[in-house]
Symmetry: C2
Subunit: 399 residues, 2 copies
């Protein structure tokens, strides 16, 4: 369980296979984001048919609404959402640190104001882990101190060091919960009475914890973050946070290049919050295995589609009479059935079906990019294929 | 083509089979409404899997956006929307007469102001038929003069008489278009030159025209409307308009009872804009074969569901931890997969998937009601079954 098998490499690029309690993820892979326990606008069957192998849930949002106790009572995220495959929850760190002016950071944790009802809340490394345990995804993420992309070095260092200290607390709390679960006790409450009845081994632990590297764009801070993180291991996977938060793309790519040699080859690598099609290929070329980003569905809802011929604005007048698919080279459910003219009409008439159909396409576009990259790595043709792809992508200008 | 076979009757209730160019409709049947060429919030596959045999399109809305020329260029409503089965378009009469203060009625037709861009528009009996011909549904509806439900007798009579005069013009224009099509000319333009090349028979005509009875709640006006309509026939179906527009339900039911003896048994009967579950059963008991209404999807979007245990408000606090389906007695895609707790969460989090899942349920609820009524009529048990059903429905109080 939680094993990662490296099947092939080409340069820094890797093709692998991650075994999780709820299923297998063949990497590199794009993971659609299901903020509120649903990939926005889509039915879980649509997400599955788009080729998704694993989807995300959002601890901050699910904690506030409906509350982890509701999700847990309904069978955890898998039972609640009916998504049967692998899932990952972020820790809420990114969300609470985004609440500029509405949160106070201390060593204990983060006090913040709920964006829903204004209530005062706290997230700590321990509570972030407890919430994720209740949510029950295959992979939980450590609670990290996220700093803005262009943060000064001191702030980046502070966030990175605090993330390391919090990581130890996350790991300890997660190990406690896992141990209790393995003892057959499902309650999170402590029970150290020597007289307590201890049933024999409970169900196997179905959740692993991954750390998040921080350190902004500073190579020495990133190196220190990696070193400190590995010291607090072992881990079954490792995430790279604090990127794609406003820094120029070449800067993000340099961070990945600097990190790659030090990352344990046996661990899957997850680049958080990334990205766009070119980010995926640039990340894969630098050794990243997993990606997530809301851009696919967000752009889809706004009528913006990635296609093999560049970006398409679905409201464009040129589509009015077009009986072509959105992307003739695409195998998604939208492109194999509907015309550009119909999609445009749905957007102009503000029909929900339009948002959904373009979201399906965008998600399939990124997932297929991962599939294609994987096939190329296995065939040893990734370098040329991805360079050609990126050249065409940038050449279009509108992309 | 356009044949209706009466398979069984029980009292006034009828079970039949309507053959249309795009498929067969087993009656009684509820027809979901696809105002803008999509049943709001739903994918055509979801509509099909909910058991829909025929869906509606809306001439007023499709004329304004995207325009019938766009729909026609994309293969008519079937090609444009990818719904392969039977379709029916209303004539736009109901919509333009609803534009109180924004329209002027004359014998020629109705001048109105587009609700989208404020542009001045006109619908006439002829143009309503031409638009519907371009949209290409299996069944087109005559352009009628609709008066409010509580209209005084003089206004009801004026609307009914005008509807008859317009019916003759609709029929004549539709026959012209059909004749040209049968001649293999697809253009709507007149070409009466004796030297014109006339190819041999073109494709079979794929659209029929149904008249609409008016006359408000006045028996003698309804009788006159029926008489005048039959004089202008023959027809392949007949619609009852101007009901469910604010009059009490018993009044609507009396109109149907009075009409029934005079309606030709060989024609399918379509009660326009109806309705709610009880309206369907009351209508079927009075000889109606086809129904349409937006309530199923509109209520669904608002989180209100019809269930076998009464109406359910999906936002209700009592559903917070419920792992029950929305309706345990329902076979729809929503009820067989998702819990009430998850649906409630989707609505509170304002996730589109929630609107869609409850809409699917409501549509399936009405379609299944038609299926059950049909089976009961064929088995000769409709009277008792429908009385029991209605008693339970009304007994719940919240329905």
């Amino acid at each position: 369980m939680f094993e990662f098998e490296l099947l092939a490499t080409e340069g820094l690029a890797r093709a692998g296979r991650l075994v999780l309690p709820s299923g297998v993820v063949e990497t590199p892979a794009f993971m659609p984001v299901g903020t509120h326990g649903t990939v926005r606008g889509l039915h879980p069957e649509e997400v599955r048919r788009a080729g998704a192998q694993i989807i995300l849930g959002n601890t901050y949002h699910l904690h506030l609404r409906p509350g982890e106790e509701v999700v847990q009572a309904l069978g955890g995220l898998h039972g609640f959402t009916t998504w049967p495959g692998p899932m990952l929850t972020d820790s809420g760190g990114f969300q609470v640190f985004s609440l500029e002016g509405l949160r106070r950071v201390a060593e204990g944790g983060v006090e913040f104001v709920s964006h829903i009802d204004g209530s005062a809340r706290t997230l700590t490394p321990e509570s972030a882990i407890e919430i994720q345990w209740a949510l029950g995804a295959d992979v939980a993420m450590a609670f990290d101190h996220v700093v803005p992309g262009q943060a000064p070095r001191e702030l980046a260092e502070e966030g990175m060091e605090r993330t390391l200290r919090w990581l130890a607390r996350c790991r300890s709390r997660h190990a406690e919960l896992a141990e209790r679960s393995a003892d057959g006790r499902t309650s999170g409450r402590a029970d150290d009475s020597p007289h307590a009845v201890r049933p024999s081994a409970g169900p196997p632990v179905r959740q692993t914890l991954w750390p998040i590297l921080q350190g902004g764009i500073h190579p020495e801070l990133r190196a220190r973050s990696l070193e400190g993180t590995l010291e607090r291991g072992p881990w079954s996977g490792i995430a790279i946070g604090g990127l794609s938060v406003g820094e120029p793309k070449p800067v993000m790519q340099r961070v990945l290049e600097n990190l790659a040699p030090g990352l344990p080859p046996a661990l899957p690598r997850y680049l958080m919050g990334v990205g766009f099609p070119d980010d995926l290929l640039e990340g894969i070329a630098r050794g990243v295995d997993l990606f997530d980003c809301v851009a696919a569905t967000r752009n889809g809802r706004h009528g913006s589609a990635w296609t093999s011929a560049g970006k398409v604005n679905i409201r464009g007048a040129g589509l009015r009479l077009s009986d072509e698919p959105l992307d003739p080279a695409c195998d998604c459910e939208t492109c194999t059935r509907f015309s550009r003219a119909y999609l445009r009409h749905l957007f102009l008439a503000e029909e929900m079906l339009g948002l959904r159909l373009v979201s399906i396409h965008n998600i399939r576009f990124l997932i297929r990019l991962g599939e294609q990259a994987r096939a190329a790595i296995l065939a040893g043709t990734f370098d040329r294929w991805s360079r050609d792809w990126l050249e065409r992508y940038h050449h279009r200008g509108d992309a």
